[in-house]
C-alpha cells in the first residue's frame, strides 16, 4: 500500500484529527474554511475521503437525518490507525524538508 499523501488528503486527515468523532462533510468544510480560508466543494471533499477510505486510512458511517439538512443523513468519517500513521509520516517528512529554512521562508 502506497503511504504517500497528497496535500488535500493531508488537510482532510488533519481536519479529522481536529473534529474527532464529529467529522462530516459540512463540518470539515467549515473547519478548513475557518482555518485556511479555502472553500472546498462537498464533491471534492467526499471524492478525496472516499479515496482515503479505499486506502484504509479512514472509516465512515451514516448518521441521523437533521432538519437543517433538509432531512438528509450525515456521512461521518473517523481516522483509523493507518491514517494516523500516514499523517504523522507526512508531517514528519514535511518538517524534515522545512528544517533550517525558517529565516528564508518565514516558517513558524
Amino acid at each position: 500500500m502506497r503511504r504517500h499523501l497528497g496535500e488535500l488528503e493531508q488537510v482532510l486527515l488533519l481536519a479529522l484529527v481536529h473534529l474527532g468523532e464529529d467529522a462530516y462533510g459540512a463540518g470539515i468544510a467549515r473547519l478548513i474554511a475557518d482555518r485556511t480560508g479555502r472553500v472546498l466543494s462537498p464533491g471534492a471533499i467526499y471524492t478525496a475521503l472516499e479515496r482515503l477510505e479505499r486506502r484504509g486510512f479512514v472509516t465512515s458511517r451514516w448518521g441521523d437525518p437533521t432538519p437543517e439538512r433538509g432531512g438528509k443523513r450525515k456521512r461521518h468519517y473517523r481516522l483509523r490507525a493507518a491514517g494516523v500513521a500516514a499523517i504523522r509520516d507526512a508531517q514528519r517528512a514535511l518538517a524534515q524538508m522545512a528544517r533550517g529554512l525558517k529565516a528564508r521562508v518565514e516558517l513558524e
Binding site: Y24, S41, G43, Y46, E68, G70, R73
Partner: protein, 914 residues
C-alpha cells in the same frame, strides 16, 4: 427577498440527485443545505447563498463525475454488460466531439458529400438503367422483332425500332398467338392537339393500341373502362382513355369525366376511362414522350395520318407501322411461338420485296421489353458512368480522410490511450471505442448524405435528361435507398476507423505514458503518409476530369454556329389540316393550310419588335436532325435535311452564297426546290455550281435553286454535314407541328402574349408549346457539360482541400516530432531556408508519390469521358501537366505554414522540449 423561509435552489439540488450516485448525492446535498442555512444565519444575502450553493453543486458534480469517467470504466466495472459499455462509449465519444467541433465538421461534411454523391448516383442509376415499366410483371414482356431478309425494302415510318409490322403482318402474328399468349400492337402518336370544351388547346402525346393492350400489360384504369377489342372494329365509335394529368388539367379531376368528349386533332372522341398516375404507356421519355392519351389503332387516320401509304393501311402489307410486345413467361412456350410466328411471316416478305431479289430468310427474335421503348437509358448511360466513377472516388477520399483524421486524433490522444491501457482497458475495448467513434461520424455523415442525395437526385435526373423533354423517372427514397446509404456508411466507418484503431492500440503503452508531448519518440506515421498519398492520387483523375470539362465547355461555346443565335425566339405549333388522305398516302400541305401558315407568319412579323418569322422542321442545335440519302448524279449521298419556311436564312442570318432562298411561293403546286449548303457543293458537286441541278430524295425530284453557307444543325459537337433545305410548304407527310422561329429586337418575355394572341386569332385550335430562346436552346444542349465541369470542379476542389488539410496536419506533426532535431540543426548553423526545405521535402515526396499513382489512374479513367469531351483529347498531356503542377503547388502551400514555423524555431527552446 422578503421574509419567509429562503430555500436552496431546487434545480441545483435536482442536478445533484441526477448527476451523482444516490449515497454521494445524499451526503453532498445535505452538506450543501446545511452550508446554505449557515450562510444565511451569518448574514449572507439569499442570492449570495444561492450563488454559492450553485457553484458548489456544479463543482461537486464535475469533480465526482470526472473521477468516475477516469476510474470506473475499466477498473471498477470491467464485467459490465456489452451494452453498458457501448452506451458509455457513445457518451464518451460524443463528449469528445463537443470538444473538437472542427474535426467533426470536416469529417461529417466529407462523408456527407461522399455518401450523398454515391446514394444519389446509385438511385438515379437504378431509376434510369434498371427501373422497369410500371406494368404488371414487366420481366415477362418480350419484343417480337421481325428482321427482313436482305433485299427487302423496309419502309419504316421510324427507324428507331426495327420491329415494325404492317397491319396484316400484325394480324398473322396475333393469330399465331391465339388465345394462349397475350400480345399487343401499338405505335406512338406524338403531339396531338387536344381541346376540352371551354379550355385552351393543349398538345399531348398519344399512343394507338390494339384491343388487348391493357390486358396484356395488366393495367387497369381508375375510372371507366380500358380499351378493348371492340374499340378496334371498323365503324366502332371513337373513344379514348386519358391520363391522370390530362384529367386534372382539362377536367379538374371531375369524377363524371367518363362519357365527356375531347377533340383530338379536330375530331371528337368519347372519354371512356382514366389511367392511373403512374401510367406512362410504353416509354418513360426521350424521343417518345410518356403517353398522355391512349386511343385504339383504328384512330390512326386522325392521330397519325402520316403513317398511311397509298393503299388502305389495314390491308397494305408495305406500310410498317405497328410494334408488337408479347407476354411470354415461359421460355419453351416463347420459342414455340417464335418459330410459328417466323413461319407465318415468311409470305409477308414476298409482298415487301417488290422487284428486288430476296436473299436470306425471315427471322423473328424475342428480346426483353421490361423497359419498353428505352431511350433515356441509352442517352444517360455514359454520363451516369462518369458520375458513378467520380462519386466513388470522392467516397474513397472521404474514407481516406476519415482514417487520416482519426489517426491524427489518436496520436493527440495517445497519452490517454496509454493511461487507459495501463489501467487495464483491453485492446478490444479501445478498438471498439474507435469503431464506435467512426460509426457515429459515418452515421451523421450518412444521414446528411441521404439528405444530400434526396435533394440532388431529381436535379441529377433533370441534368441527365435535358433536351429529352419530360421523363417519367420515379426517384423514391425507399428502403432500398436507405439500406444502400446505411451499407455505404458502415463500410466507410469500418474502413475509416478500424485501421487507425488497430494502429494506435498496438503502440507500446509504457513508452507513450512517459512522453508528455509529441517528440522524437512519437511514431513516424507511415499510414498517415500513405493515406495522404492515396488522397492525392485519387484527386488527380477528378482534377483532370474537371479541367477537361472546363475546356470542353470553352470549346463548345467557341464553336462557329454559322447563324446568329442572339435575338431568336422559337416555339412549336400544331397546324390544323390533313397531312395524309386515306388511300392516297402522305399529302403535301393543302393550299388552305399553306395560306393559313403564310398569314400566320405575316401576323407574327407585324408584332412590334419582330423583324422576321419563319418555320423550321427541327429547331437548330436541339440534338435532333432529319437525315436522308439523296441521289445526286446517280450517286447516293447521305445528307441531313431540314424543311424550312420563307425567310429562314434571313431570320437565322445564314449567308446566301448563290441563287435564291426558299420563299412563300414554294408551295405544293410549284416546282419542288431545294437549297444546299457549302459542304454539299464540295462533297457532291466537286466545287462546281449546283444551281439548276436536280437531286432525288425518295421519290421526289428537287431542283437546287440556291447555295448557303455551312451552319451547325443538330449539335455543337457535329461539324456541318452536307445538308439540303426544302420548302416546309411543299414537303409531303409533315406532321404539321413545325417550330416557328422569330428574329426579335425586344425581350422574349414580352412576346409571349402578342404571339399567343396572333396564333389564337388565326388558328384557334392550334396549341402552342416549347416557347424558348435560341440561346436557351443551345444552353440546354450543353447542360450536361456544364454540370460535369461544375460537379467535377467541386469534387476536385473538395478532394484537394481535404488532401491539403491532411498535408498541413502531417507536416505540423512532423515539425513537432522533430523539434529537437531542428533545434540542433539551427544551433549548428542550418539556414532557415534549409530547414524549410527539409520539412517541405516530405510534402513534395508525398505529392510526387500521389501523382505517380494518380496519373495512371487518370489515364485509365479517361476512357469513360472520351465521348463526352469536345475539342480536347481525354489524355491531353498539357492538362496532365497542369494538374501535376496544381497538385504540387497546392501540396507545397499546405506544407508551407508548418515548415515556416519550423524554420523560425528558437534553437534554445527547441532543444528544451523533451
Amino acid at each position: 427577498m422578503s421574509g419567509g423561509a429562503v430555500r436552496p435552489p431546487r434545480l441545483a439540488r435536482w442536478l445533484i440527485q441526477r448527476g451523482l450516485p444516490p449515497e454521494a448525492a445524499e451526503a453532498i446535498a445535505g452538506d450543501l443545505d446545511e452550508r446554505f442555512s449557515d450562510d444565511l444565519r451569518r448574514g449572507a444575502s439569499p442570492s449570495r447563498a444561492r450563488l454559492r450553493y450553485w457553484r458548489q453543486a456544479l463543482a461537486s458534480v464535475a469533480v465526482a463525475r470526472g473521477r468516475r469517467e477516469f476510474s470506473t470504466r475499466e477498473v471498477s466495472m470491467p464485467r459490465a454488460s456489452v451494452l453498458t459499455g457501448v452506451t458509455s462509449d457513445v457518451r464518451f465519444v460524443l463528449r469528445g466531439f463537443a470538444r473538437t467541433p472542427g474535426y467533426v465538421a470536416v469529417a461529417v461534411l466529407s462523408l456527407a458529400i461522399g455518401i450523398g454523391a454515391n446514394v444519389a448516383t446509385l438511385s438515379v442509376t437504378r431509376a434510369i438503367l434498371l427501373q422497369d415499366l410500371p406494368v404488371e410483371r414487366p420481366r415477362e414482356l418480350r419484343w417480337v422483332s421481325w428482321s427482313h431478309p436482305k433485299g427487302v425494302r423496309v419502309g419504316n415510318y421510324n427507324s428507331s425500332n426495327d420491329s415494325n409490322y404492317s397491319y396484316p403482318a400484325y394480324e398473322a402474328v396475333r393469330n399465331v398467338a391465339g388465345s394462349r399468349i397475350q400480345l399487343l400492337g401499338f405505335n406512338f402518336a406524338p403531339r396531338l392537339s387536344l381541346i376540352a370544351s371551354g379550355r385552351a388547346p393543349v398538345a399531348a402525346n398519344g399512343m394507338m393500341v390494339s384491343g388487348d393492350y391493357f390486358t396484356t400489360l395488366g393495367l387497369g384504369v381508375i375510372l371507366g373502362r380500358p380499351l378493348g377489342d371492340d374499340d378496334n372494329r371498323p365503324g366502332a365509335p371513337r373513344v379514348a382513355v386519358i391520363g391522370n394529368d390530362l384529367w386534372q388539367r382539362l377536367f379538374d379531376s371531375r369524377p363524371d369525366v367518363v362519357g365527356h368528349s375531347i377533340r383530338i386533332n379536330d375530331v371528337d372522341f368519347e372519354i371512356v376511362g382514366v389511367t392511373p398516375r403512374r401510367y406512362v404507356g410504353l416509354s418513360i421519355g426521350g424521343f417518345f414522350r410518356p403517353t398522355d392519351i391512349t386511343v385504339p389503332l383504328s384512330a390512326q387516320p386522325i392521330v397519325a395520318p402520316y403513317v398511311a401509304g397509298r393503299a388502305d393501311i389495314m390491308s397494305d402489307p408495305t406500310r410498317l407501322w405497328i410494334h408488337i410486345i408479347a407476354r411470354l413467361p415461359d421460355a419453351a412456350q416463347g420459342e414455340a411461338f417464335r418459330q410459328s410466328a417466323q413461319i407465318a411471316l415468311a409470305p409477308m416478305d414476298a409482298a415487301l420485296a417488290g422487284s428486288t431479289a430476296v436473299t436470306g430468310a425471315t427471322a423473328v427474335t424475342l428480346s426483353p421489353a421490361n423497359r419498353g421503348v428505352d431511350q433515356v437509358a441509352r442517352r444517360a448511360g455514359e454520363p451516369l458512368e462518369v458520375l458513378t466513377g467520380a462519386s466513388v472516388l470522392v467516397l474513397l477520399i472521404a474514407c481516406a480522410n476519415l482514417a487520416g483524421l482519426m489517426l491524427a486524433r489518436g496520436i493527440a490522444r495517445s497519452r490517454e490511450t496509454a493511461v487507459r491501457r495501463a489501467l487495464g482497458a483491453s485492446r478490444a475495448t479501445l478498438i471498439r471505442q474507435w469503431v464506435i467513434e467512426g460509426l457515429i461520424l459515418a452515421l451523421a455523415g450518412g444521414a446528411c448524405g441521404v439528405v444530400v442525395a434526396i435533394w440532388s437526385g431529381p436535379a441529377i435526373v433533370h441534368l441527365l435528361t435535358t433536351g429529352l423533354g419530360p421523363v417519367a423517372i420515379e426517384l423514391s427514397a425507399d428502403w432500398g435507398l436507405i439500406a444502400l446509404g446505411l451499407g455505404l456508411t458502415i463500410a466507410t466507418a469500418v474502413l475509416g476507423a478500424a485501421l487507425p484503431a488497430w494502429r494506435l492500440t498496438r503502440a507500446g503503452a509504457t513508452t507513450d505514458l512517459r512522453t508528455q508531448v509529441i517528440g522524437a519518440s512519437s511514431p513516424r506515421l507511415t499510414i498517415g503518409r500513405v493515406l495522404i498519398a492515396v488522397q492525392i492520387a485519387i484527386s488527380v483523375p477528378l482534377l483532370v476530369g474537371a479541367l477537361l470539362f472546363v475546356q470542353t465547355l470553352r470549346n463548345l461555346s467557341a464553336v462557329d454556329l454559322g447563324f446568329d443565335p442572339r435575338g431568336l425566339v422559337e416555339f412549336q405549333i400544331n397546324l390544323p389540316g390533313p397531312v395524309a388522305i386515306p388511300g392516297r398516302g402522305a399529302q403535301p400541305m393543302t393550299a388552305e393550310t399553306a395560306g393559313l401558315t403564310r398569314n400566320l407568319l405575316t401576323a407574327l412579323e407585324a408584332i412590334p419588335g419582330v423583324s422576321s418569322a419563319t418555320l423550321v422542321e427541327n429547331p437548330l442545335v436541339s440534338g435532333i436532325s432529319s437525315n436522308w440519302g439523296a441521289t445526286i448524279d446517280g450517286k447516293s449521298v447521305p445528307m441531313a435535311m431540314q424543311a424550312v419556311g420563307p425567310h429562314f436564312f434571313e431570320t437565322m442570318r445564314i449567308p446566301l452564297l448563290a441563287g435564291r432562298a426558299i420563299t412563300d411561293r414554294d408551295i405544293a403546286t410549284a416546282p419542288l426546290v431545294a437549297v444546299v449548303n457549302r459542304a454539299t457543293v464540295g462533297r457532291a458537286f466537286h466545287g462546281a455550281s449546283p444551281i439548276g441541278k436536280t437531286m432525288l430524295v425518295g421519290t421526289r425530284e428537287l431542283t437546287i435553286v440556291g447555295v448557303v453557307d455551312n451552319s451547325i444543325y443538330e449539335s455543337l459537337r457535329r461539324q456541318p454535314q452536307p445538308t439540303f433545305y426544302d420548302s416546309y410548304l411543299q414537303r409531303p407527310g409533315m406532321t404539321l407541328s413545325p417550330y416557328v422561329t422569330l428574329r426579335t429586337v425586344v425581350s422574349p418575355a414580352t412576346l409571349v402574349a402578342p404571339v399567343t394572341a396572333a396564333v389564337a386569332a388565326l388558328a384557334p385550335t392550334a396549341p402552342l408549346t416549347n416557347f424558348k430562346t435560341q440561346t436557351d436552346q443551345i444552353a440546354e444542349t450543353t447542360g450536361e457539360e456544364r454540370v460535369f465541369s461544375r460537379l467535377l470542379t467541386l469534387f476536385a476542389g473538395f478532394a484537394m482541400a481535404l488532401a491539403g488539410i491532411g498535408l498541413y496536419g502531417l507536416t505540423s506533426y512532423a515539425v513537432a516530432r522533430r523539434t529537437n532535431e531542428i533545434g540542433i540543426r539551427i544551433a549548428l548553423g542550418a539556414a532557415r531556408t534549409q530547414v524549410q526545405r527539409l520539412m517541405l521535402r516530405q510534402v513534395v515526396v508525398l505529392a510526387a508519390l500521389g501523382l505517380a499513382a494518380g496519373v495512371p489512374l487518370a489515364l485509365l479513367s479517361s476512357r469513360f469521358i472520351a465521348t463526352l469531351v469536345f475539342g480536347v483529347t481525354p489524355r491531353d498531356p498539357s492538362t496532365l501537366v497542369e494538374v501535376a503542377i496544381t497538385m504540387l503547388v497546392a501540396a507545397i502551400a499546405a506544407g508551407w505554414l508548418p515548415a515556416r514555423r519550423a524554420s523560425r524555431l528558437e534553437p534554445l527552446s527547441a532543444l528544451r522540449t523533451e
